[in-house]
């Protein structure tokens, strides 16, 4: 178990810089999720921590010790890969014991650890099977088992659930979380799935184009997104954005609607509001011309346009709605629930 520091970390392939000055402090036992769209450099960052990619500049420290120059084997880490990367020619037991044998543990100790991990992951009855005789979920467990038996300082997960079906993914997600909490091992988890990120992480590092957009708890990211990117990436359905002219605590939206906002900012800005924060209100300032309904059961998503404009908006209302396309619904916006971002840089404006 150990803390991890990322200091001014840069990765370049030739002249192309793909990760730009990443900073991060990860506490002992924390579960960190690195999340971002594909191609944002999140897997590269994880592979640098694992030692599978070289560090161009900056420093990675695990347990206070610089590991830039160390081989993956000497970093005391375990990694779970997206395609599981099980050794196809070895049985489940041999797969899990491989790393222990290399570390020259005694036979009894290896057996004890493998049995113990198999017990935790409920794969005891498969110990003598080959990976190809297992289902995706079972392979996933074996991959986890191979990581657990090593008793490493750090767990690294590279999109481990993306090859599973939706139901299994939810189940494994909970199990990974439970397992990590009971073992208390510092973990870094890479995913492009924001729901996975929100539910698993103690803290989330949102990466975009090789830059850290925001690093904080799921609630911080949801309540106070640092940029338009984070605001649009975290939360489902995504936040609505409208161009606005802000003056005296009021935002003037396209089509003439005026809504109250927080803070002292004035001038051009991007106004953001989450679909679930639009409150149905007969006298509200925002009028949505409904195009389409999405019934989710617990709530209904109203897709439409801001009246008199082409700006699309989504509102989420509880229960079942039966508005016909073309009807007009009005919503109010609580000032403390709205967000303002700089119109050009996309950064959050102080409120």
């Amino acid at each position: 178990m150990a803390d991890i520091q990322l200091k001014d970390l840069v990765k370049s392939y030739g002249p192309t810089e793909v990760l730009h000055h990443i900073e991060g402090d990860i506490k002992d036992g924390e579960f960190i999720v690195i999340v971002g769209p594909s191609g944002c450099g999140k897997s590269t960052l994880l592979r640098m921590i694992a030692g599978l990619e070289t560090v161009t500049s900056g420093e990675i420290a695990i347990g206070g010790k610089r590991v830039n120059e160390l081989e993956p084997a000497s970093r005391d880490i375990a990694m779970v890969f997206q395609n599981y990367a099980l050794y196809p020619h070895m049985s489940v037991r041999e797969n899990m014991a491989y790393g222990l044998k290399i570390r020259k543990l005694s036979k009894e100790e290896i057996n004890r650890r493998v049995e113990e991990a198999a017990e935790i992951l409920e794969i005891k009855q498969y110990l003598d099977r080959k990976p190809r005789q297992l289902s995706g979920g079972q392979r996933q467990r074996v991959a986890m088992g191979r990581a657990i038996v090593r008793d490493p300082q750090v767990f690294l997960f590279d999109e481990p659930l993306s090859n599973l079906d939706a139901k299994l993914r939810v189940q494994m997600r909970l199990e990974i979380r439970k397992l990590q909490q009971s073992l208390g091992v510092t973990s870094i988890y890479v995913t492009h799935d924001q729901v996975e990120a929100m539910t698993l992480g103690d803290r989330l590092m949102v990466l975009n184009g090789g830059y850290v957009e925001q690093f904080g708890t799921p609630i911080e990211l949801y309540d106070r997104p640092a940029s338009v990117f984070v605001a649009g990436f975290i939360g489902s359905p995504a936040m609505n954005f409208l161009p606005a002219e802000v003056q005296n605590g009021q935002a003037l939206l396209p089509g003439g609607a005026q809504v109250p906002v927080m803070g002292q900012h004035s001038g051009q800005a991007t106004f953001g509001i989450r679909p679930e924060h639009l409150q149905a209100d007969e006298a509200g300032p925002i009028a949505i011309q409904i195009d389409m309904l999405e019934q989710l059961g617990a709530n209904t998503l109203l897709h439409g346009r801001l009246q008199g404009t082409d700006h699309t908006l989504v509102a989420s209302v509880p229960g079942h709605a039966i508005d016909a396309p073309g009807t007009l619904r009005r919503f109010a916006v609580p000032a403390e629930r709205s967000h303002l971002f700089d119109a050009t840089s996309g950064k959050r404006l102080a409120d």
Partner: protein, 293 residues
């Protein structure tokens, strides 16, 4: 629903396969049956009289100590050729996989020897190892080894093994490289994280995973060493000194066309034919074992 293609004329499909069938009949089946027939005959050296003797030629072969010695020699020869060429190819492929820059260039160079005709390959090695002119005997002399494959049977054997193996390295290299590249990278990385160094990764992960390729190449190389090394041996040693490099195919040629024992030679080639059929069966039965990834 299976869709069937109908040709307008019923003659066309036969015409289309005819060239293949004619070639097979004229160049393979007819000579094979001739050899079979010949193996039941004893003919005098001038071709004046022939006698049908059933299996007498085969009986003689099985009791002929020269033939049995040649059999053993061939086994040693082909095992060593297969081991040497596959071992070299495996090492080269292992290195080639790690090459990042100029990989195409390097691989192309390694494939060249495959395009060299057997007799030319043999000639190359004859020049390099010529006891009076060759460069290698000169070097070997410096470390106190006298090289003369015209006198030493073992040295002659070593030379044809090297020449035959060298020519096959390129082929094996291609297959090994393809096999290694089909192993998912993450499996190797997982082993690295598990603490395995490069050598250990190779022997415990890569080598077992390419074992189907190894088996396939073993059969191919054995067949090659058994049947396709005639040119090299003819160019390098002519089966000598004595009979120390006379492997089965060379003995067929020697007994038939030099010794003019056509019946005995035909019987030998029938034995070889049975061997090659057996090897082909082995290959088809086992080579398509399921690959484990």
């Amino acid at each position: 629903m299976l869709k069937r293609v109908h040709f307008p004329s019923s003659l066309l499909p036969y015409l289309l396969v005819a060239p293949q069938i004619i070639i097979t009949l004229v160049f393979f089946l007819w000579p094979a049956s001739q050899a079979m027939y010949q193996s039941f005959l004893i003919e005098d050296a001038f071709g004046l009289g022939t006698e049908f003797v059933w299996f007498e030629n085969f009986e003689q072969l099985l009791t002929d100590s020269h033939y049995l010695a040649s059999f053993q020699r061939t086994a040693v020869f082909s095992l060593l050729v297969a081991a040497l060429s596959m071992g070299t190819a495996l090492i080269l492929a292992g290195f080639a996989q790690r090459v990042v820059r100029g990989a195409m260039f390097y691989r192309t160079l390694l494939i060249w020897p495959y395009a060299v005709a057997p007799v030319l390959a043999g000639a190359l090695w004859v020049f390099m190892f010529n006891p009076t002119l060759g460069i290698f005997p000169y070097f070997l002399e410096m470390v106190g080894i006298t090289w003369n494959h015209y006198l030493s049977g073992n040295q002659a054997m070593a030379l044809v093994i090297m020449a035959a193996a060298w020519k096959q390295v390129a082929y094996n290299f291609l297959f090994y490289l393809a096999a290694m590249q089909s192993i998912p990278n993450s499996v190797i990385e997982a082993a690295a994280i598990d603490g395995a160094g490069p050598a250990r990764r190779f022997w415990t992960i890569i080598f077992p995973l390419i074992s189907p390729t190894t088996f396939f190449l073993l059969v191919i190389n054995m067949v090659y060493a058994f049947f396709e090394t005639f040119g090299i041996i003819h160019a390098v040693t002519q089966g000598g000194p004595g009979t120390s490099t006379t492997i089965l195919v060379y003995k067929v040629f020697n007994d038939g066309f030099v010794g003019l024992d056509l019946g005995g030679s035909a019987a030998q080639s029938v034995v070889l034919m049975v061997l090659v059929i057996a090897m082909t069966v082995v290959q088809f039965r086992f080579v398509e074992r399921k690959v484990e990834y």
